[in-house]
């Protein structure tokens, strides 16, 4: 049996990696908080399965947290900011620049706007060449003359815009001293706020030869309340959009911004509205793929869309009775309602004995070579696209299912099993894990498409890891999707339910591990594979056994599964 060897590799890797700080933040993402080492339920202690409901319940109390808190924990590299928090930050930055540079807050705000809201860039530039900075952003040293004119209230002044005469108390100017009446000023400002979009933040004196900046102090004293509100919204938008460290959450109705300070090329972030996206390219999360390849893949999908349209159809004929079957569950294990034939949705092969169908088999027919290659290239693309797309849909379905389960079934379950809803957190976690893994699996197929054909060892390793991950995921998905249903209408806390919990928790952890292994291997370009072959893969085949229940690979020295506690059946039989 092939599997065991790499699984042990997987374990080694996970253990090794959890020592380094860098991994903490990334690992968390995949296992959805399960590997939080302070959470004793999910330590792979040998004895944790033993203590039944009592201890587990107590532990579940501890885990009972908002999903938001979970998110907070697992995303140390990013911070979700509300509009209020953003305004506070902006004010702090302005205050800091104002005090360091000894300029007014309005001037500080103008400076920051011109330097992408970076406090350090502003002060660097300022202390390098103050007058150049003043020239660039339009901050003049106040002219004494203009103030003199304005203070003389009896003087009559002609406005440079409307040409009307005004007493000097109705006349205003920026630091440059160009005089215009208050009415013209306010129309000038209002015109800019309503026509120039964010350009109004860079408003200058109306005199064409002058570029004195118009600051928020003038806006506040001359614009209508409505315009002041718009201006301040533009200012906040600029604070987020021009700032290199913040971005708005791309979800349509979401008002949060995400501040990101991570490195390492891992950009997955999740907003407080639960939208996950890649901070770098603003597409949805796509680990283990890099942004550039994702862009290529997405554009390929749109250009190939005509060729693969049929794949998008939701129906396939049952391979046995040929009646059309619509897939309405998330997992790939299909059962025909008519003939009860069980098969895999992806390869249409029988489910019994179904191992993996993730591997792309190249055809060896000897047709006209060019024709064959063209056909194969489409076939190859179709193979990967179909799986990418199926997992994508499965992910969306799982997300919706999770919501429905939380909204509807927890109540029922709580009644039938007489357990508080809070104790079903493990079901939620399993669903979140499914969603996360479907997402990773989705992108692993795009990754597979771009894997060079001339590196068979890498390809083999990749397909191996992917196959393993995929088959545990199918088990987990099936378990949380179908097995849960059994308990909905059955009264009483059955022993079976606690068995179900044990199994589900175990599967969740194991699946998380498999995917972490897969994702990390893909992210480092499958560099574990030595170019000479897959020797490493086959060495330790004999040293492990795969748990029948949760598929966890255990060292052969242990008789009961480390994760779910099942006995090694082969061993028992001996």
């Amino acid at each position: 049996m092939i599997p065991s060897s790499t699984t042990s590799l997987a374990m080694d890797d996970v253990h090794r990696s959890s020592d380094s700080v860098k991994v903490e933040s990334t690992i968390n993402y995949y296992s959805d908080g399960f590997d939080d080492s302070e959470d004793p339920l999910f330590l792979s202690d040998d004895d944790f399965v033993g203590d039944d409901d009592g201890a587990a319940d107590a532990l579940l109390e501890d885990i009972k947290e908002d999903e938001i808190d979970l998110l907070k924990q697992k995303q140390q590299d990013c911070k979700i900011l509300s509009t209020t928090e953003l305004r506070q930050r902006m004010e702090q930055d302005v205050a800091q620049v104002s005090s360091v540079l000894s300029v007014s807050k309005f001037e500080a705000s103008i400076l920051l706007r011109n330097y992408n809201w970076s406090v350090s860039k502003v002060s660097d530039a300022w202390f390098t060449d103050e007058s150049a900075v003043r020239e660039k952003v339009g901050l003049l040293v106040k002219t004494v003359i203009s103030c003199g004119i304005v203070s003389n209230k009896r003087k009559i002044i002609i406005c440079g815009i409307c040409f009307e005469s005004h007493t000097s108390d109705r006349i205003r100017c920026a630091d440059c001293g160009h005089l215009y009446c208050e009415i013209c000023w306010s129309i000038y400002i209002s015109t800019s706020i309503n026509n120039d979009g964010a350009g109004c933040l860079m408003l200058r004196c109306p005199d064409p030869s002058c570029h004195a900046a118009i600051g928020q102090d003038m806006i506040d004293s001359l614009a209508s309340e409505e315009d002041r509100k718009k201006y301040s919204d533009f200012l906040l938008r600029s604070y987020v959009e021009d700032n290199r460290t913040t971005k708005w959450c791309p979800a349509p109705a979401c008002e949060y911004a995400v501040e990101f300070s991570g490195a390492d090329g891992i950009f997955d972030v999740t907003c407080r509205c639960l939208t996950s996206f890649c901070w770098n390219c603003e597409e949805e999360c796509h680990r283990p793929m890099d942004c550039e390849t994702v862009r290529k893949w997405i554009s390929k999908n749109s250009s190939e869309s005509e060729n693969v349209n049929y794949i998008l159809a939701y129906c396939k004929p049952c391979p046995n009775c040929k009646r059309p079957i619509e897939k309405n569950h998330g997992c790939m294990h299909m059962t025909c309602r008519v003939c009860r034939n069980e098969f895999c949705w992806l390869c249409l092969g029988p489910w019994k004995g179904h191992m993996n169908c993730n591997r792309y088999m190249e055809r060896t027919d000897s047709e006209d070579k060019r024709k064959k290659m063209a056909k194969e290239s489409l076939e190859k693309y179709t193979h990967y696209f179909e799986r990418w797309d199926a997992n994508r849909k499965s992910k969306l379905k799982a997300r919706a299912d999770h919501q429905r389960v939380k909204d509807e079934e927890f109540k029922k379950l709580s009644l039938s099993q007489d357990i508080p809803e809070a104790h079903f957190e493990f079901i939620s976690k399993a669903w979140l894990q499914v969603v996360e893994c479907r997402r990773a699996l989705e992108w692993s197929y795009s990754y597979g498409y771009y894997l060079p054909d001339n590196e068979p060892a890498k390809k083999q390793f990749f397909e191996y890891l992917q196959g393993e991950a995929e088959s545990t995921l199918e088990k987990l998905h099936n378990c949380v999707e179908s097995e849960l249903k059994e308990f909905l209408d059955v009264d009483g806390l059955s022993k079976k339910f606690s068995e179900f919990r044990t199994k589900l928790v175990g599967l969740t952890t194991v699946t998380g591990d498999y995917f972490e292994k897969l994702v990390r291997a893909l992210e480092n370009g499958l560099s574990d594979v030595n170019s000479h072959g897959t020797k490493g893969l086959e060495e330790e085949v004999e040293d492990c056994w795969c748990c029948d229940r949760c598929t966890y690979a255990n060292p052969s020295s242990i008789r009961s599964c480390k994760v779910c506690g099942s006995l090694n059946i082969d061993n028992v039989n001996e």
């Binding site: 409307c162 040409f163 015109t191 109306p206 064409p208």
Partner: protein, 171 residues
């Protein structure tokens, strides 16, 4: 009447345009619409748009007296938002220029995003006159003319002179 409530600024600008016209430029409001001006600009000397004969300093009277060419008719309109929005101007005389299209529309920054309420009709017309002296084929409105200008400038200038002779004779 359409001209009631004409802003003081427009009245003052008009008075000054009529009493102290800029050299080579005349602008007079139409009788039934004080926001609509008939404009004439003389092609600047040393440009392909100058009159071909020798001509004296232009008359200040609104009817052009230079008959030897280089007289360009334009129309100008002050929209309701003026002076917060730029005036609208276009050539009525056909002209071969990279920043002016077949319909006489002009590509000039101060008529678009660089407009400022402190600018005036006079400054706009002077800028258009200056544009005739200094075509800018890098920011074209007519792609073909701009390309012509960039690849074979001498030939393009000849075409511009020819067009001036054909269409801008002031007759």
């Amino acid at each position: 009447m359409a001209n009631s409530n004409l802003p003081r600024r427009i009245i003052k600008e008009t008075q000054r345009l009529l009493s102290e016209p800029a050299p080579g430029i005349s602008a007079s409001p139409s009788e039934d619409n004080m926001r609509y001006f008939n404009v004439m600009i003389l092609g600047p000397t040393q440009s392909p748009y100058e009159g071909l004969g020798s001509w004296r300093s232009p008359s200040t009277s609104s009817c052009g007296v230079v008959e030897t060419g280089g007289v360009f008719k334009l129309e100008l309109f002050l929209p309701e938002e003026y002076p917060m929005a730029a005036p609208k101007v276009r050539f009525l005389t056909k002209i071969y220029h990279p920043n002016i299209d077949k319909l006489g529309r002009i590509c000039l920054d101060i008529l678009k995003d660089k407009w400022s309420p402190a600018l005036q009709i006079r400054t706009v017309l002077l800028s258009i006159q200056a544009l005739l002296s200094a075509p800018n084929p890098d920011d074209p409105l007519s792609e073909n003319i701009a390309k012509h200008w960039k690849t074979k400038e001498a030939e393009a200038v000849e075409t511009a002179k020819e067009w001036t002779r054909l269409y801008a004779s002031g007759a």
